[in-house]
Subunit: 333 residues, 2 copies
């Protein structure tokens, strides 16, 4: 199977720019640069997509970059970017990525925030991307399967997850969260020396395969109290109910409100979103007012956090016309 069709992606962006009365885009996020050109840059970069062949401005440390998608130029000073932008009437830039420093230095009235537009095509995954995501999930499944947690320290388990990822020719998508006992009450707990004994343990992890992330959370438990059991049952039920509700055409916010309602009904406080998009980044679109579309990949991760106890279950789903297709449900709880 051949790789991504960059020309198609660039064409899509050009058409979106036109719809929004922009004649160009100034792309600074390295994930977007990778998406549109296939280039993995390590220093600052500016990809400019207008009507002509895209221009990719790099610093000299990225002298390894070779691409057919853009003319590669090396720059030393932001003035060079500023001067190149003069030919455009209205340039959309990525306000979510660009630093205030660059924004102030470029000082250009023709620059308008367009992060949403630049990142829009990335939300819907093509066939090649779906393949990478599925592989990424498969490797995470393999790690969950191999993992021994009983009697081990949170830190040890987190390290083991990272080592397993590397041995399976991938790398972590984010620092693994391993929270046991009281620490399950923290959402982004940082692994400590606490030992996994009885009770609840949250393991939230993912890998990157060919740049594409997975993000899955499973509960590990033994000898749990009735309270713990109730928590797991409730979170499981809430997750299933949300997945049932997701389909093409609804907005992210609608699902968010639905999630809040479900949580409230059971008396739980909402600490974070029901989920987020996953792709070249662990956290990416869709969000908020975005309409869910066929081919998007999002997590569904209801979480309950109380003083001293918590539970989260997280799966990745693909949005289809009439339903949400679970991608990671084969990984046992």
């Amino acid at each position: 199977m051949k790789g991504p069709d960059f020309s198609k992606r660039i064409k899509k962006l050009r058409s979106l720019l036109q719809d929004n009365n922009l004649d160009s885009a100034l792309i600074t996020d390295r994930h977007d640069i990778r998406y549109y050109t296939g280039c993995t840059i390590t220093g600052p970069g500016f990809l400019i997509i207008g009507k002509q062949k895209p221009k990719l401005f790099l610093s000299s440390i990225d002298n390894h970059i070779r691409t057919k998608q853009a003319d590669v130029l090396f720059f030393k000073d932001l003035k060079e970017i500023k001067s190149h932008l003069k030919q455009y009437k209205k340039t959309g830039f990525d306000e979510y990525n660009m630093k205030a420093y660059t924004f102030i230095k470029l000082k250009n009235k023709n620059l308008v925030p367009a992060g949403k537009i630049i990142k829009f095509p990335r939300m819907v995954k093509d066939e090649w991307e779906m393949k990478q995501i599925k592989k990424s999930i498969k490797i995470t499944a393999k790690i969950f399967e191999t993992l021994e947690v009983n009697g081990k320290r949170e830190k040890e388990i987190a390290r083991e997850i990272e080592i397993l990822s590397l041995k399976l020719n991938t790398e972590k998508a984010f620092p693994p969260i391993v929270a046991t006992g009281k620490n399950t009450g923290f959402i982004h707990h940082i692994p400590t020396n606490a030992v996994v004994l009885k009770g609840l343990t949250i393991i939230d992890m993912g890998v990157k395969f060919n740049g594409y992330c997975s993000d899955i959370t499973r509960m590990f438990y033994s000898k749990i109290t009735q309270r713990g059991e109730k928590l797991i049952e409730d979170v499981k039920e809430i997750q299933e109910t949300i997945i049932d509700e997701i389909r093409e055409g609804v907005t992210f916010s609608e699902i968010e409100k639905f999630y809040e309602k479900l949580m409230k009904r059971k008396g739980y406080k909402v600490y974070h979103s029901f989920g987020h998009g996953v792709g070249l980044e662990v956290h990416e679109g869709p969000s908020k007012t975005d309409i869910l579309r066929k081919g998007m990949v999002v997590t569904v991760e209801p979480g309950v956090y109380k003083k001293g106890i918590g539970c989260r279950i997280e799966d990745m789903i693909k949005i289809e016309k009439m339903k949400a297709k679970p991608l990671s449900k084969f990984i046992p709880l």
Copy 2:
């Protein structure tokens, strides 16, 4: 040995703010937040240091944060930050870290760029920090010592470096660079399936110990040509000459110019700086117009890159009153 003295750091910043007619600082870089409070945040955060006790605004996903250095508050909307800032007359913010989106949203005439001021105290390392950096270097030395490269693929070696880092209870400070043969001509080469045989190989790596980075490059070689030998000798000589020149009181730019002169004299093109500061980040101050001061830690990494062949040697040094003290020279070439 007790940990860092956060109060001393905050006091230092307050005095710098006063010198610059600022009554407060808005800190957004998580490395700075860690430096001033010891907190490891995972989501967005705003640390506000004025005359009263610092305020740390976090999103709810960071509900694990506990600190004595600041009052922890949870925020949902940037409006809350904007409103809190109203009490200050002039707030210095970190333009190198803040996103254009946040900058535009906060829309506050009293916000002035002060990234240099906020990060200034971090440049000079205290006794506790030096201890972490030395430990970080020691672990990197151990990895270099253990590493077998002959007959292995670049990718394999990079993975092995990461696994060794984890087994030694640390993590990589950045993706290891392993470049062999022709790939040595690329500065930030991304490891491929190329096999290390005869000739030159660049390995550039570092770990993070207690948050503190190391960054060291060594050349591996066997059966090299005269050209390769000459390259190594030249780079070694340039590095020694620069280290001899570094001491308290000279500016970073002066050393930069000196490096450029040395390179030009030997007929080499300059692709990157002679070095950079290292600490909580692999790349941090000092740079450009900064005056080198006692207690700063910088790398010295001359590099020559030609078509098909390259060489870089990188060591970390500590700046002292009359000299630069090498910290990693005990690691053999």
